[in-house]
């Protein structure tokens, strides 16, 4: 029996493994377990390995959304802001259109 085998407790089910996933991802390890029992399950269960890879992929791809989308608010939004600010702050001449067109 190897040292690793000795450290392994009883095998866990997919349900038990997946129950631990929220904490596993939140720990900063991005789904990679320190626990040998969890790691053993991950190494031997194709289904859970695929699940972890997909969840890692989704978390990675989410960063694509950090940059603002192409859409921008309609011109009416600035018009309303302009109108309200002019009244509230006694600013007489806010520009009719915002000065820049891009972020």
């Amino acid at each position: 029996m190897t040292q690793n085998d000795q450290n392994l407790s009883a095998p866990i089910s997919c349900a038990d493994f997946q129950e631990r996933l929220p904490d596993l991802f939140a720990s900063g390890s991005n789904g990679v377990p320190d626990d040998l029992t969890l790691q053993h399950h991950l190494d031997t269960c194709e289904n859970c390995a695929n699940l972890v890879r997909d969840l890692q992929y989704i978390a990675d791809q989410a960063r694509m959304l950090l940059e603002p989308a192409e859409e921008e608010p309609s011109p009416g939004v600035w018009a309303n802001i302009q109108s309200k600010l002019s009244a509230e702050l006694a600013i007489p001449e806010l520009p009719l259109t915002p000065k820049l067109q891009t972020d």
Binding site: Q18, N47, L55, A62, L65, E88, L94, P98, T102, D103
Partner: protein
């Protein structure tokens, strides 16, 4: 229940937020001029940040009309309070937090104040992601572009979407989200996990169907 106030200037370091908010040319001058009531400076700040603020509102609210209203409120609030901006964090970080706070306040006004957010942000059983203990489906890796992911996020139940956007897109930590949403850190972790599971489900359906599931759900 009232919204837990989150300091606009972060009390501790927020590396992910700072990293992605480098100084913008001309922004510092525009801020100082806006503090002095310069109308041109207001318009410049709006032009610099309108897409970012609008995108955040749209992702959190999932509705164009509400997102435009909230963008308007965020900038009005910004211009009213700009005198209190001390430059302790990046301006965009400050504006971002201000916007998140306003959106959350708006959501509470719409009905979340009477019951615990821990309950209300949980979707129905029908919306919950299915458990996955035995299937042998293809992986997603390499198959999802930005537009597809954006649509899938839009199709998430509101509670899942909020936590996913705040954590995975915007880079907030679970403890920050828990404070903002008045829920436990464990609940934030759990909601995020369910959001990712639901996204996986939507994206896999999208890959297998001629009519993308994310489009069908987004239309509902």
């Amino acid at each position: 229940m009232t919204l837990q106030a989150v300091p606009i200037a972060p009390s501790g370091p927020a590396p992910s937020l700072f990293k992605r908010n480098p100084p913008i040319a001309g922004e510092a001058e525009a801020i100082e001029s806006a503090k002095a009531g310069d109308a041109e400076a207001f318009s410049k700040l709006y032009a610099l940040h309108k897409r970012r603020v609008y995108t955040l509102c749209l992702r959190m609210l999932g509705n164009v009309s509400e997102a435009e209203d909230m963008t308007q409120e965020a900038f009005l609030h910004l211009f009213r309070k700009i005198g209190s901006f001390r430059g302790e964090s990046a301006f965009s970080t400050w504006l971002h937090r201000l916007t998140v706070n306003l959106v959350l306040m708006q959501l509470r006004k719409k009905g979340l104040q009477l019951v615990s957010l821990e309950e209300t942000i949980s979707p129905t059983d029908e919306d919950s992601p299915k458990r996955d203990f035995g299937s042998r489906d293809p992986q997603l890796t390499g198959s999802v572009d930005r537009v597809t992911l954006e649509r899938a996020v839009a199709a998430l139940p509101p509670g899942y979407r909020m936590v996913f956007v705040l954590h995975d897109v915007e880079g907030y930590e679970h403890n920050e989200i828990a404070t903002m949403l008045e829920c436990s850190t464990g609940n934030s972790k759990s909601q995020l996990h369910k959001a990712r599971l639901k996204l996986r489900e939507l994206l896999r359906q999208n890959g297998q169907s001629s009519q993308p599931a994310v489009l069908k759900e987004a239309a509902q």
